[in-house]
């Protein structure tokens, strides 16, 4: 990476590859009446111009086996209707991307425009349906928890908050966009697809299903992946189209989206609305929560996770670290004429934490209770674990209150309260947010979602070659999380060798037998757990062989510093590399019938809860409405920390994304559904100037459910930040009696509430 020697999909040399450019819908909604391709077909360098009809109208269809879910097909290329501006209709294949784009301009699509449904308000106004299968526009409707006594609890509550919270549509925007290079290889009877993805095996299934191939006939390889954040854990229609073309033309075909395609045409996330009624006792105890959650999921249900990811997560996990008393929640996914939503980093939790924290702050203000105190009164306490929530979740041991108290101490010591007081015309505020993040969902937990394919477990193979070097395979698929480092640590630890001798191979469906990829903060916990199990088995083999050579009981052999030695007898040692070469080359000298040093391991934990408290210090300029986060602090607990540098890096990167969602980023549309944020000029991804230094402190509550004691933590940063930042903004505005309940908070929003309260 540092030398520029990384290999991302677009870096793979393939001299004779053709390039695909897509002709995309210029309108948000309409009926396709004609597609004219003749001119493009004869343009310079063009190999093919492909419509849905040319490839047999294949589609990707996500299925949840629930009555409340309406399956809808996402065609690879639109053929009857277009459902969002930017939807691909025609693929132009040419000798270079320049020529493909030239020719794409010669394609003419005749579309009878219809009125788009863009927002939940449009939906409520009853605009015509987007999918015939779902005449009411609702693709999923989950009444997750019903509680007969909730109404009464709310009716009797001394304080009832009846609030609406909203969050804007955001783009994951990994710096490397989506990209693929597909080629058919006769020799192996296989379509080989290099792809920038988080889930190679699921893409294999998606491609095989869409093209009518056997799983074996598709090999998906993810080389270096330049960020994913959830966007790359769904199967993209464009990539499957490129694969279909490669198969049909028997030519290597590549597609690498440009930024405009990424922002306009790739999946988004988090456009949600929460209508919440919450009852509090006079002492601040939360008595009950009734939530009606609606997610604007865009035009299609993504494969394989479906459009239910956000509503399901929101309705299930809204309570978070708090004891909510009585609880009911309904989660709906509403189809609109915008790009589909994918499970973007944090999946609804940035929103639901924002909602719960707003409720706490509002109740604290109304009841005259300190903001920390009201949280103390409602947070699940150490002695209450394992805590059984009214949302059907059992929370294992965490440090919810401890994290908050530590955070309070840290910000006190860092002088935040002093800084908040400084009087220079800027408004300052401090915000605090507590959350737990369920991570590493195993099969049992995912099974409750009732997906047609249930993710969860992972497997790993560990093998030692004749020189004593170790190769580990995993079905997880990193894209910047440092798996190479942490997996090597975990495996080396079991084998007593230097981590530098352990090499991780990931992201190749022909290398790892199967896997569920990298998302949901699962990799180190599940994939790394599986690798640890496999390494443990390999260590047993090494101990057996060393026992024979050292004439000792295997149980007395320990592996450390690259050697096997009898416990307590340091001069009885043999190098692990000698053991390895003996097994490979001189097995006749052993009575042991070990022929190779290899082992397989699996892990399938139920899903555990990391937790954290985030605190933000912001400055709001009342003149311009501009908000700046000037300091940030995280106290987090992800169980045993395998590698602090990597954990901190994940937290900081996540916080930056959370600050972005709180203050800067939003995909916006004109009233007729044209995207207004198609470049980084308009879609405001924060730079180093907008992201403050972020202090990270660790608490360690080892997890008993995982092999390494670690809990996942990949998304936490993103989850806590919007709540903390908006709480800080509201704290800054407090003297004005102004409140903001939606993100992002833009300067105009601040000016608007200040003006209203003046």
């Amino acid at each position: 990476m540092l030398r520029g020697a990384g290999v991302f999909v677009d870096d793979i040399a393939q001299p004779h590859a053709c390039h695909v450019a897509f002709v995309r819908s210029p309108v948000a909604a309409g009926r396709i009446t004609a597609i004219h391709t003749a001119a493009a077909k004869t343009a310079a360098g063009v190999r093919a111009v492909v419509t849905a009809d040319d490839i047999g109208r294949p589609a990707l269809t996500a299925v949840l086996e629930r009555d409340e879910f309406v399956p809808t097909a996402m065609p690879l290329l639109a053929h009857d209707k277009v459902r969002y501006a930017g939807e691909p209709i025609v693929a132009v294949v040419a000798d270079s991307r320049y020529l493909a784009e030239d020719a794409a301009e010669l394609v003419a699509c005749e579309i009878e425009e219809t009125a788009p449904v863009l927002s939940l308000a449009d939906h409520d106004a009853g605009v015509p349906p987007i999918h015939d299968e779902a005449p009411d526009g609702v693709l999923v409707d989950l009444q997750m928890f019903a509680d007969g006594e909730l109404a009464e609890a709310l009716a009797d509550a001394p304080l009832v908050l009846d609030e609406t919270f909203r969050s804007g549509r955001v783009a994951a925007a990994p710096l490397e966009g989506r990209a693929c290079l597909a080629q058919w290889q006769d020799r192996d009877d296989q379509l080989v697809v290099h792809l920038s993805t988080q889930v190679p095996h699921q893409v294999r299934t998606g491609i095989a299903a869409a093209l009518g191939l056997a799983e074996r006939q598709v090999r998906v390889v993810a080389p270096d992946v330049g960020g994913g954040f959830g966007l790359k854990c769904v199967v993209g229609r464009e990539e499957v189209v490129a694969a279909a073309i490669a198969r049909r033309l028997r030519l290597p075909v590549r597609w690498s989206e440009d930024r405009q395609e990424n922002l306009m045409g790739a999946c988004h996330g988090h456009e949600q609305e929460y209508r919440v009624r919450a009852g509090f006792a006079a002492d601040g105890t939360l008595l009950g929560v009734d939530a009606d959650i609606r997610c604007n999921i865009g035009a299609y249900s993504v494969y394989p996770f479906s459009c239910a990811v956000e509503p399901l997560m929101a309705a299930t996990e809204l309570p978070g670290v708090y004891k909510v008393g009585r609880y009911a929640a309904r989660g709906r996914g509403i189809a609109t004429n915008k790009p589909p939503t994918a499970p973007y980093r944090g999946v609804s939790r940035p929103q639901l934490v924002f909602v719960m924290e707003r409720l706490m702050d509002k109740a604290a203000n109304r009841l005259g209770i300190d903001r920390l105190e009201i949280r103390r009164r409602n947070t699940i306490r150490r002695e209450e674990f394992p805590y059984q929530g009214p949302n059907g979740i059992s929370y294992e041991l965490g440090s919810y209150l401890e994290a908050m108290e530590r955070c309070a101490t840290e910000i006190e010591q860092a002088g935040w309260w002093e800084r908040r007081k400084s009087d220079d015309g800027l408004l300052r505020g401090i915000g605090i947010a507590n959350f737990s993040e369920r991570t590493a969902y195993g099969t049992a937990t995912m099974g409750m979602r009732k997906m047609q394919m249930t993710p969860g477990f992972d497997v790993s193979h560990v093998r030692m070659d004749a020189s004593g070097d170790v190769t580990v395979t995993t079905g997880t698929c990193g894209h910047g999380q440092g798996h190479e480092t942490t997996f090597a640590q975990v495996v080396a630890d079991r084998l007593g060798v230097d981590p530098a001798r352990v090499k991780l191979r990931q992201g190749d469906t022909d290398l790892a037998s199967f896997g569920w990829g990298t998302w949901g903060s699962r990799s180190l916990v599940i994939g790394g757990g599986a690798a640890a199990v496999a390494a443990g088995r390999l260590a047993d083999q090494l101990r057996e062989i060393a026992g024979e050579l050292l004439e000792a009981d295997a149980a007395d052999v320990e592996l450390l510093d690259g050697h096997a030695q009898v416990r307590g007898v340091p001069d009885s040692r043999i190098g692990i590399d000698t053991l390895a070469s003996t097994v490979h080359f001189r097995s006749h000298t052993l009575t042991h019938d070990e022929q190779l040093l290899e082992a397989r391991g699996a892990a399938n934990p139920p899903g555990m809860f990391s937790n954290a408290t985030h605190a933000a210090l912001v400055e709001v300029d009342p003149g311009t409405g501009d908000t700046k986060v000037v300091d940030y602090l995280v106290v987090e607990d992800c169980g045993v920390v395998i590698n602090p540098m990597i954990v901190d890096g994940q937290v900081r990167g996540g916080v930056a994304q959370g600050i972005a969602a709180a203050l800067y980023e939003e995909m916006t549309y004109s009233p007729d559904g044209q995207p207004l944020t198609g470049t980084f000029m308009d879609y405001l991804m924060p730079t180093a100037s907008e992201i403050p230094p972020i202090a990270v402190h660790h608490l360690v509550t080892p997890c008993e459910l995982t092999e390494t004691g670690a809990k996942g933590m990949g998304e936490g940063g993103t989850i806590g930040a919007p709540a903390a930042v908006v709480a800080a903004v509201n704290d800054a505005l407090r003297d004005y009696g102004a409140e903001i309940d939606s993100i992002p908070v833009r300067p105009a929003d601040v000016l608007c509430v200040l003006r209203e309260s003046a």
Binding site: G4, L175, D258
Partner: protein, 162 residues
């Protein structure tokens, strides 16, 4: 085909001759014609800085420069930073400070920082933050990047002042 130009480039001290259409960007020339794929494209509209290279020592966005504009000039890319197997001080600092995660933005930041360090700056963190805010990173939250560049600025200053 008309509109072809013979262009001579000095890239990382090596001379190349390429025949180019005038609309071909320098980024595409480096990546596709010369096989120097370390320079990345994150936006192709001049905002993200992933494609930053040094043109006659100045940092430029190679997605906004046409190949023909680089005719007869010297280009430095990320591939030219290390001395054989030995990583440069800046590359080492990026690794030490965890200034990269997915690594896609890294070449652009390295070249941006290299140009900045060449100006022999004081290198206080605020200034560094300001300078590196020319480029975008989606993964790191920038802290490691700022620390790496600040460290190298200090070390080089110390070396200079001897």
């Amino acid at each position: 085909m008309k509109d072809q130009h013979l262009v001579t480039l000095d890239v990382n001290g090596r001379e190349y001759e390429v025949v180019l259409e005038s609309r071909r960007t320098l980024a595409d020339v480096l990546r596709q014609d010369l096989g120097l794929t370390g320079t990345h494209l994150g936006c192709e509209h001049g905002i993200c800085g992933a494609c930053t290279v040094l043109l006659d020592g100045e940092p430029v966005r190679s997605c906004l420069v046409f190949g023909v504009q680089a005719d007869g000039r010297s280009v430095r890319t990320v591939e030219g930073l290390a001395d054989g197997d030995e990583l440069s001080d800046l590359q080492q600092a990026f690794s030490r400070c965890h200034g990269l995660q997915c690594g896609f933005c890294t070449p652009g930041f390295l070249m941006l920082a290299e140009a900045y360090l060449d100006t022999e700056p004081a290198g206080d963190p605020e200034e560094v933050r300001d300078v590196v805010s020319a480029n975008l990173c989606r993964c790191t939250g920038y802290q490691g990047i700022v620390e790496a560049v600040t460290e190298v600025a200090a070390a080089r200053r110390k070396q200079r002042d001897g």
